[in-house]
């Protein structure tokens, strides 16, 4: 493995390829910052350029855009509460409160470092354990996915800062929103008010509305910016020794969770970051600090989603199966170069296979190096008075959402979700569980119904398949935990809320 990795490194370190790797991560990061314009838009824009590059170079550049945009997404989430992807929703939860407390520089630094560690761990797993991970991933059939999603949703109901019953109601609201559109199994139209909604509500408009627009409505008429004036000396950016120490374990746990879930084709990165966050919160000795800008709550999901972004290439590279829409694009680029991705890729094209993997390693280093100096620049952005900033953000959200599917309906829905998110917050409902329900709900319905179809409506299948049974056990433990803490909270006098 190591020899092959070195072969890969020798491919990447050629100046020309290195340059394209740099361009990829750099453009990816810049575009990832723009709300609503994510990796997909960036990659499809640059796809024609790859016609003129060889397969290895184009793959390295496109992959760079992909994980570079993960970094960029975190920046927009921390500074402006604008999550472009479901996984950066979790980044908003702790990152944005930090920025509001004038600690944006610190938040960005921690995010960059945990992303880096997560990314490197992900690459290491990719190098050392791609094949075993593939075998495990293939064991995940419909029953396993259904149970995994249930576990994820249970974990999510622990996320909100308020009561668990309110969080769970919001998860269900998210699932309900996810039901809109053509039913995946029968094609039947559900809750479709107009033809543009036939493919469902756009994730981008839901995320931009619930988080971005609602925040603008709240702050647009507020005169003085919250918190004291910003200073950006390096000391404000670096965490204290104690803070740094408190981040080690969360980053390790986050990277582990991310590496595992990323390898599952499907919605790996989103589940991974929510699970990492929920786990930190569950096992933290100070759970009350979460939601107000708690560093471990930022570091764990950041490392998880970047680890997942790397291990997400496992099914793509070893099986030729794209894990998500971005992977499908990257595979498309390979096919256009006359290479059919599949199990033989590593054998037939070792330079490409290992070159791409090594480029992840190099790309993560490049990202870290360009990110740290950029932190000052990003924090400067927050010095612009909010009154000047928010009109521009509104326009960026509108253009981003519109260009995503060229749909006016999506823009109007973004506003509707903005108002909804605004009202929800006023009545102490959290938007984050809505997002998770929205992302995971369709996955749950799809796989649950498929399980029932494949195994003739037999519920015991969830207990007789080993991985599924294990997931059921984990869910049971979570429920037991919740009940236990609920009961003990009730025994305590007054001020602890249920």
């Amino acid at each position: 493995m190591i020899d092959q990795f070195l072969l890969g490194l020798s491919v990447v370190l050629q100046p020309e390829i290195l340059m394209y790797a740099f361009i990829g991560v750099f453009i990816g990061q810049l575009i990832g910052v723009l709300p609503g314009i994510g990796a997909i838009t960036a990659i499809s824009l640059l796809l024609p350029v790859t016609f003129y590059l060889d397969a290895t170079t184009s793959m390295i550049m496109l992959a760079g855009i992909y994980y570079g945009s993960q970094y960029g997404g975190s920046i927009a989430s921390i500074l402006l509460n604008l999550p472009g992807t479901p996984s950066s929703v979790v980044t908003c939860l702790e990152g944005y409160p930090l920025a509001q407390r004038s600690r944006a520089g610190l938040a960005l630094f921690v995010a960059a470092c945990s992303s880096f560690v997560g990314g490197i761990v992900g690459v290491a797993i990719l190098v050392l354990a791609a094949i075993p991970m593939t075998i495990i991933a293939l064991r995940f059939g419909a029953p396993e996915y259904a149970m995994l999603v249930i576990l994820g949703l249970l974990a999510a109901s622990l996320i909100g800062t308020g009561s668990q019953i309110r969080s769970f109601a919001m998860v269900l609201l998210g699932i309900a929103l996810g039901l809109v559109g053509a039913d995946a199994t029968t094609g039947y139209y559900r809750f479709v008010a107009m033809p543009e909604m036939a493919d469902g509500i756009s994730l981008v408009s839901l995320a931009m509305g619930l988080f971005g627009v609602s925040e603008i409505i709240r702050n647009a008429s507020r005169r003085s910016p919250p918190g004291p004036a910003l200073s950006i000396t390096m000391r404000d950016v670096l965490p204290t020794r104690a803070e740094a120490r408190s981040l080690v374990l969360p980053i390790v746990r986050g990277s582990g969770i991310g590496s595992f879930f990323g390898a599952l084709p499907g919605t790996g990165a989103a589940i991974a970051s929510f699970m990492a966050y929920a786990m930190e919160r569950r096992f933290s000795r100070t759970p009350e600090k979460f939601g107000k800008g708690h560093l471990p709550g930022l570091a764990a999901p950041e490392s998880a989603n970047n680890a997942a972004a790397q291990t997400g290439f496992i099914p793509t590279l070893t099986l030729g199966i794209p894990g998500d829409a971005v992977m499908a694009l990257i595979i498309g680029a390979l096919i256009l170069n006359g290479i059919i991705p599949g199990p033989r890729l590593a054998v037939d094209q070792p330079e490409l296979f290992w070159g791409v993997i090594a480029s992840f390693f190099v790309g993560n280093i490049i990202l870290l190096l360009i990110n740290i100096p950029l932190i000052k620049l990003w924090v400067l952005l927050l010095r612009v008075p909010y009154q000047k900033l928010y009109p521009v953000i509104i326009v960026m959200i509108c253009v981003g959402v519109y260009s995503h599917r060229t749909s006016v309906t999506d823009v109007v829905l973004t506003l509707a979700f903005g108002v909804l998110g605004y009202l929800m917050k006023n009545y102490r409902f959290e938007p984050a569980p809505v997002m998770l329900g929205f992302v995971l709900g369709p996955l749950l319905e799809d796989n649950f119904r498929r399980t029932m179809l494949l195994y003739g409506g037999d519920f015991t299948i969830f207990l007789t398949r080993p991985i599924s049974a294990m997931l059921v056990a984990c869910s049971a433990v979570l429920i037991a935990f919740a009940v236990w803490s609920g009961v003990s909270a009730m025994r305590k006098p007054v001020h602890s809320t249920p």
Partner: protein
Amino acid sequence: MQSVTQDWPGTARRALSGSVLLVAGLVMLLICWSYPVGNLTQMGPGYIPRVVGFLICALAVAIIAIDVATPEAAQAGRMHPRGLIFVSTAILLFAGLIDIAGLVPSMFLAVVVSMFADDEARPLPVLVYACLATLGGWLLFLVALELPIPAFWR
């Protein structure tokens, strides 16, 4: 707006958010009631929506019960009518104009209108700033990113 919410009788006010959720759940059930349900092996498109609808209603009832029982926790946040109105109008204007007038006029109007959400906005600085922002948007979206949106109506 703020004073209105606080003039309501206490119990009704505290039950408001849960009730809205309950209504949403009931509306959902009403709409999906006509969808085929199927059976466990061959679930129809209506099966899961019904389950979700019922669960939402059940949780909404629980939330109402808790909110009514715990007076001090159910305080609603302050409303921001000015932000709500101008931000909404700006986005709706953008949505209405983008397919007709193209990107540049839509961006310009969205910036101008949304800037009035700030009650100290003055016409001249707003116009100057909107021109600058539109120029920037044009450079970013059309020149740099080459998004397939016409600048003006083709």
